[in-house]
């Protein structure tokens, strides 16, 4: 909480906040009025001259929003009819004017000009009006959110069903052009066979795009199960998997892999596996032409986040286009040079985003690239319990 705006003479910010805290604890923070604040709340004596009278109106419990009006102290000096300097009589029961005089002055301290009934009523109405506006706004927003949620769900369902239904026709295109090539290839000649190959490979690529889209949209529907994940072990096992997959065609390729110790983070193991797999697979792909390719994984801690980096000495990219890297189906290299659908990094960004982190990259043409992602050390998201972890594994098979 902090003061957003103040006009005129008011107590200091810490003093105001303490006052509000006291009011909240006393359960009086919806509406409070007094022209003798320090008589209820002794701490106010410190600033009685600035604020002896106060009206406090609470307009939002949820967001601790208040409006406060202060009135300065009005010291009233009451003059006795009698002469205060008169010698006091000491006999019992007699009035001691001088004694009474000093007591009377004390009572009149710490008071402001009293609030009028109309003013108090105006403050009530003010509060009512603000609450109506706030409530109206909140309802509007809730409706908008619900609308957006619905639209989003529909869009996801739509893109899923389209992608799903596209697989069959692409399969048929691929299949039948292959059959055509088998049946008539000899008769067709070089040109004809080449055309058929293009048809086949295009259908295959279309299938990959569709699969990529399906994966991407599935991510939106998945609720991440947040459990502790040992990144070091995950990185090592994913590296082995990627190496086995990517280096299939080229048994002589050796990519040097090194890493610093990696932290145990809180996240969804399957999703984080996908992140590492995508980043490693990219690194291997784009270092294909290097004589001595290496990949290095490092992790640091900064501002409540773990920052993980994956650096390679591959073909790199132009930093001015770095923003495009993580877009869906975005590529910075020609398809003849490096195959791929351009959805891997979009997935990475999406997954990392679901974990409350960010993904970004730095690179230089010909000098390699470094991909970064951050994960909050203590995420706000759902915390996984052991039984959810088990259920998750059963579900994922």
């Amino acid at each position: 909480m902090c003061i957003r705006d103040s006009f005129g003479i008011t107590p200091s910010e810490p003093q105001v906040l303490d006052l509000l805290k006291w009011l909240r604890q006393a359960g009086n923070d919806e509406f409070f009025v007094s022209s003798r604040l320090s008589s209820h709340y002794p701490e106010a004596e410190d600033y009685a001259s600035k604020a002896s009278g106060v009206v406090v109106v609470g307009v939002s419990k949820l967001r601790s929003t208040y409006v406060l009006w202060f009135r300065q102290e009005q010291v009233q000096t009451v003059r006795w009819a009698g002469d205060p300097a008169k010698t006091a009589q000491t006999s019992l029961g007699a009035v001691h004017p001088r004694h009474s005089f000093s007591q009377w002055t004390e009572i009149v301290r710490g008071s402001s000009v009293p609030w009028l009934d109309e003013q108090i009523e105006a403050a009530h109405e003010f509060r009512g009006a603000i609450l109506e506006i706030v409530l109206g706004r909140a309802e509007e927003l809730a409706e908008m959110a619900a609308g957006l949620q619905l639209a989003n769900t529909e869009l996801e369902a739509f893109s899923y069903s389209i992608s799903h239904d596209l697989r069959a026709p692409f399969r048929h295109i691929s299949g039948f052009s292959r059959l055509l090539r088998e049946a008539e290839g000899e008769r067709m000649g070089e040109q004809g066979r080449h055309y058929l190959e293009v048809i086949e490979s295009s259908a295959r690529f279309a299938g990959q795009l569709v699969d990529g889209l399906l994966d991407f949209s599935r991510l939106a529907r998945t609720v991440p199960v947040m459990v502790p994940v040992d990144l070091a072990r995950l990185a090592d096992s994913e590296w082995q998997a990627v190496l086995a997959g990517e280096a299939q065609g080229d048994a002589h390729r050796r990519v040097e892999f090194s890493r610093t110790p990696l932290p145990t983070v809180v996240g969804d193991p399957q999703l984080l596996r996908q992140v590492l797999r995508n980043l490693f697979s990219n690194a291997v792909k784009y270092t294909a032409r290097q004589p001595a390719p290496f990949i290095r994984v490092e992790a640091t801690e900064r501002d409540g986040e773990y920052i993980v980096s994956i650096r390679d000495n591959g073909v790199g990219f132009d930093q001015q286009y770095a923003g495009k890297l993580f877009g869906v189906f975005q590529r910075l290299h020609r398809i003849e040079e490096f195959e791929g659908t351009g959805i891997g990094l979009a997935n990475v960004r999406r997954i990392v985003g679901r974990h409350g982190g960010r993904a970004w990259a730095e690179g230089e043409v010909g000098k390699g690239a470094t991909f970064f992602f951050s994960l909050p050390i203590a995420p706000n998201g759902e915390q996984g319990t052991d039984e959810r972890f088990e259920a998750h594994f059963d579900r994922r098979g």
Binding site: H164, R167, A168, F170, R171, H172, S174, G175, L179, G207
Partner: protein, 153 residues
């Protein structure tokens, strides 16, 4: 003469059917191939009713079952076959475009023997069908001394 059980293909899409048959042909399986174009036809065959009431008794060597079928869909048929004593142990392989998790779990829960997502790449498709056929069906030349030759369905 060896008692080779037939392979039952349940597929409603004519193009997928053509490709599947082509792939089976390439795998040189000697089994007879029976085709059903929807779940109801498949049920009639498996339970020996309707137009298949007079077929020789015995379950097929394997059923290649598409998920999305008219009339009775793949998972329904799966349940029907599994809950019937006579047909209960028939090997069933789900061939489908749908990788949707729910379908996978239901498939395995209902006791499907394998679940194969039809790949777009035709060569992969052929390989997948071949692997299935070879695994579940009977080769033309069963190994010598194999009891399978004289077993009745």
């Amino acid at each position: 003469m060896s008692a080779l059980k037939p392979i039952l293909i349940v597929e409603d899409n004519p193009n997928d059917l053509a490709l599947t048959l082509n792939a089976l042909e390439k795998s040189r399986l000697a089994n007879e191939v029976v085709i059903a174009r929807d779940g109801a036809e498949a049920a009639d065959y498996l339970f020996r009713r309707g137009e298949h009431a007079d077929r020789p008794p015995g379950n097929p060597a394997v059923v290649l079952l598409d998920l999305k079928l008219p009339k009775i869909d793949g998972l329904e048929l799966l349940q029907m076959v599994r809950t019937n004593e006579e047909t209960g142990r028939t090997p069933i392989v789900l061939l489908t475009s749908s990788r949707e998790e729910r379908d996978v779990i239901t498939g395995y829960k209902l006791g499907v023997n394998a679940y194969v997502v039809k790949p777009v790449e035709f060569a992969e498709f052929v390989q997948a069908i071949q692997d299935l056929g070879v695994f579940w069906a009977v080769l033309n030349e069963p190994p010598p001394g194999s009891a399978r030759v004289s077993r009745h369905g």
